[in-house]
Symmetry: C2
Subunit: 662 residues, 2 copies
């Protein structure tokens, strides 16, 4: 029997993980068994955290990028006494209503810093967390008062390393010299299809050296001393992020499965779990049994950890006394309601009457928000001059100046979105990211995580239709509106003019639980007389019919609202009295009451035409079986934008003809 | 005046590119000016191609991954006399109906090997081309008869290198030792937001060394000899792919713009074009002027190039005579109609009556297709055991055995899709790629390129709904059906049983111009009595009402068709006579005649309920204003699948209640 308390404490994580997977008859024991030691060493002896206050602003962050290893994370959270993660929850692993779902879910389980599962995502989000830390430290720290000073740890496996998103994110992390980012690479040479040799023989360490990381190796992933020394070496590097390759054996401790692909994603089998307990010298075969002395060891660690926050609380109290203006600023940064008052800020809602592209209007609004929200931070994937996302005079976030608020992501859309999530997860900052709308495709996997986690990250997506023009079909969004609108808990605005653009931005920054995308034009649009804050309802009557029940309803978004209004005028000449509905945000419209929806689009009116320079997909809910569409039927083309709108039928004539055909 | 004919020939590419962009008043002169020399040296002196027969099977492939530099590619194609790319087309750069769209488009312009524009895509597609070459060479070459023996060249810039997709693809290329892949890295240190230093200081060469590439450097990107020597050194390496860093100056030759971000994506300005012509010693300022002797030089090269194909034609004729069975096999590989006869192959359409998961059924069909189509090749992003994509006994494609037909992509979904495109672009092979359906998000940007290029690549996407169960919301597709259905020229099948799965596969492999996705279940489904080849119409009546005009229509796809049928039976007990429509492929249903659609879903029937374990988005077109939905209202959860279906309302009771509520 193994009695060393550290070793027992490591094995407790293995036993709980294996038992949880076995009871659920579903899950991934391989990583928990292989990585139990590295996480115990980290959480018990190096990481600054206070399980009694999981929200402590200056805690070290830990992200399990290999989210399938959730059983390990839950075992850690349980043993360290986080939240209310009782042993019953461990027993309910992967069951309906439990706090222990198949992959870790942010906000669902106390102590989970990020939702992970899609491989590589956690890696990139951790870079965002480290950027947030660096920025806040640069903004708030004063001599002898490092009130923001914590590490970000992330653990991923071969899969995380193969995913392109990690290369994108770590290349940027190296460029930015994020020395407080420490990456654990759980290297076990096994993937689902077998040895990693079949698809992954690259020299990962050398790749990280190329990125500008310090690289370290732990030859024995069960040797706590060796692990501890590597962590301290990583912390000691003050100019580069560190990557620690930890050589482990997948399914360690389970004789029948260790080192094999079969250990990865299925229960070990009851007999194999028993064998594992024998092999580890565990004192009982009773499922979920952990000896009292092991709990006692964890409890003692937790008591010590609480002291770290106490020290920080004192530091922060002194800081607040000495720098009251900084304390005030701090409270502004952490005030989730700060943006609400923008609704009544006259300057924010004042625009020129001149036609302008919504991307330009957005650019002007971003520069207003820069002053209204000191914690507003963001940037583009190397398209700032086109996306109009630069905050003038706000500095560039760089290795030399982490206080800069303009982020330069490079041509890395997917990592950008994940980094945006990481910044939002960190807390204290309000972030936006930006690229061309067609590249919403690239950001989609991470936009989905924004939505799942309920992070109010803003996606500024310009060049929103065939209005792109000469760049042609590779750069012209068609199905992207449908793609994003179909996603739960994600709001897509396609504003028709300046007022609606301001509504979109107001919604985006004042919202607390939903990411927002703004689809913005490259080309100029007129300011519309009927546009108003009613746009906050997602869809509203922008030009009404004279009759209470109109002859027909034209519905449109963005650049096509103007076209709908012009068609209405033309139809009036023929005696048709139509209503124009502007639909800047279908997602919000869906949330309105049936009464409101009936008032905007009465069911009695069956002559309905949807006009949008995108796929018709999704409009059928409003068009019904008797209406028609003026939309794109296929991909775009390369030509000046005005030619494209004409060739693809976005003309008053065609809209009029379509209405009359009903 | 510069009279060296090579130098003049290089400058002709610069002049035409700059003039084209200037006349269009739109486009990207920076890369063409910087990379004119490397492409001229390659195309004129090292690349095996025959402009008189751009379809020659054994030609070297060239992909311009930095697709925004299209003006350079068009200038090359024009000067080398490809297709009908006249000087008029160059003058019509980026105009409606021209052969010279903003980014290169496959099938649109003769000689364009791949549609590019989304950065990094061409890099990854070139890896697919090199894999196709390696595989076909292993299959067909005989001693002294290397009938498949060509290089794949790809040129990309800093943006291509920053995108994660290129890391994914090149890591795999290194693992596979694809020595006939030669990558040009146009390194000019400039990105749109300015110096690459702001976001990209990594050591790119070192990264490629880590991947297992030979790395070479051309210090002067205008020195043809130096470029030529590097290309030959790259060719000489028989075990590793090569990466050649070519140091260039963006906008070279234009004094006002060279070396600046402003050279990248906007016209140089008429005066600057004139200055450039002075600077390059060009003999005339007349736009689009190229001296006769330069055309003569290109023509002479083209004559010589034609000889290479003649030699190969002789070789291939001898080979065909000596190995008639190989010639027969070759013809089978290149027969686009080969799959059509599967429609009448009884074995293909024969299934057990036992309930089974459609992923398993698909796995069995893949193993039938393996024998029916010798050129069938594919694999998964490290999920083959779950996706059921292994072709048993067909070998693993590896450095040691390029004849293997099972591809192992590693955990690299995005590159996998691009590689699939590259294989399809190469010709001779019929490819499929596979991952979990939720990771359709990751493949989307490249699936869009499949659709744009009209490549019949098949996406096998298993674990298609909350049927995923315990893995939880990160792994449960909700909006992915809508995302893919909304895309033009892309067919999404969600089969309800074995017959419909066979229909989906038959459609996928017999189709020539449309990519297909198969969304397949993890869980078992019964074989449905009403399922038939009618599914090829996308939507059809699978269980009819007794009345000609039913009381209501239930429409569903995949696993929910069975539920609809059971609800119909329950409703019959209450005297309601409903029709069940199975909708395995909305995209195909949309292509049917109005008459057919009216016969399936008569407009007179307004009581309509759509049932699908996904977002309702897109069903409104069939449900109309008076119907209802039994669909997912948000993300899924982690629990056993049967519990999830019940909790989220996919029960007979709930469907019945919903129908009755209308």
């Amino acid at each position: 029997m193994n009695t060393n308390i550290d070793s027992m404490s490591v094995n407790a994580l293995r036993v709980l993980s294996a038992d949880a997977v076995q009871k659920a008859n579903s899950g991934h024991p391989g990583l928990p068994l292989g990585s139990a030691a590295v996480t115990y060493e980290l959480w018990a002896k190096h990481m600054k955290h206070n399980p009694k206050n999981p929200q402590w602003a200056n805690r070290d962050r830990f992200v399990l990028s290999a989210g399938h290893g959730s059983a390990l994370l839950y075992s850690l959270l349980h043993m360290f006494g986080y939240g209310n993660l009782s042993i019953e929850e461990i027993k309910n692993f992967r069951q309906w209503g439990s706090l222990t779902p198949g992959h870790p879910e942010y906000k669902h389980t106390v102590g989970v810093e990020a939702t992970t599962g899609p491989l590589g995502a956690g890696m990139a989000m951790s870079v965002g967390m480290a950027m947030a830390e660096a920025h806040l430290a640069a903004k708030f720290n004063k001599e002898n008062y490092d009130v923001v000073d914590h590490y970000t740890y992330v653990l991923g496996g071969d899969g995380c390393m193969m995913e392109g998103i990690s290369s994108e994110a770590f290349s940027l992390a190296g460029t930015l010299g994020l020395s407080k980012l420490i990456v654990f690479y759980d290297s076990n040479n096994i993937s689902i299809e077998g040895s990693t040799d079949i698809a992954f023989t690259e020299n990962v360490q050398k790749r990280f050296e190329a990125f500008g990381f310090q690289t370290l190796v732990v030859e024995d992933g069960n040797n706590l001393e060796e692990i501890g020394a590597a962590i301290e070496a990583a912390k000691a590097d003050k100019t580069r992020p560190s990557m620690i390759t930890v050589k482990t054996q997948i399914g360690f401790g389970c004789p029948a499965k260790q080192g094999k692909a079969a250990a990865h994603g299925e229960p070990l089998g009851a007999d194999n779990v028993d064998d594992m307990k024998d092999c580890l010298g565990w004192p009982s075969k009773e499922p979920f049994f952990v000896p009292e002395e092991v709990y006692a060891n964890y409890n003692a660690i937790v008591e010590k950890l609480a002291g770290e926050e106490e020290e920080w609380n004192k530091l922060f109290a002194d800081y607040s006394a000495k720098y009251p203006e900084m304390k005030e600023l701090w409270d502004q940064y952490y005030d989730e309601n700060a943006a609400e008052k923008i609704l009544d800020n006259e300057d924010f809602w004042t625009f020129s009457d001149k036609p302008d592209a919504t991307r330009n209007i957005s650019g002007a609004l971003i520069n207003k928000l820069k002053d209204l929200l000191p914690n507003f931070i963001g940037g583009s994937a190397d398209l700032a001059p086109s996306n109009k996302t630069e905050m003038k005079g706000a500095g560039d976030f760089s290795k030399e100046d982490y206080a800069g608020r303009n982020l330069h992501f490079g041509v890395r859309e997917l990592a950008m979105a994940a980094i945006g999530n990481g910044i939002a997860l960190h807390g204290g900052l309000k972030a936006y990211v930006s690229t061309f709308f067609v590249f919403a495709d690239y950001v989609k996997p991470m936009a989905r995580l924004s939505a799942l986690m309920g992070l109010p990250l803003t996606y500024v997506l310009t060049h929103d239709s065939i209005g792109v023009g000469e760049d042609g079909p590779t750069h012209e969004p068609i199905e992207q509106l449908a793609m994003l609108r179909a996603m739960p808990n994600f709001s897509v605005f396609r504003p028709a003019d300046a007022t609606e653009t301001a509504v979109a931005w107001y919604y985006a920054v004042s919202n607390k639980t939903t990411p927002t995308a703004l689809a913005l034009t490259r080309q100029n649009l007129p300011k519309l007389a009927g546009a108003s804050k009613e746009a906050l309802k997602g869809g509203y009557v922008i030009e009404d019919s004279a009759k209470e029940v109109p002859d027909a309803i034209l519905m449109a978004s963005g650049s096509e609202v103007e076209l709908a209004i012009r068609a209405k005028e033309e139809l009036a000449k023929d005696g048709m009295d139509v209503r124009v509905v502007s639909m800047p945000c279908m997602d919000l419209y869906e949330k309105q009451s049936d009464e409101y929806k009936e008032s905007v689009m009465p069911k009695a009116v069956r002559k309905r035409v949807a006009i949008e320079a995108g796929a018709d997909f999704g409009w059928g809910k409003y068009v019904g079986l008797d209406g028609a569409y003026v939309t794109m039927k296929g991909f775009g083309a390369s030509a000046p934008a005005n030619i494209l709108f004409e060739k693809f039928g976005f003309t008053v004539d065609n809209v009029v003809k379509t209405v009359k055909s009903l």
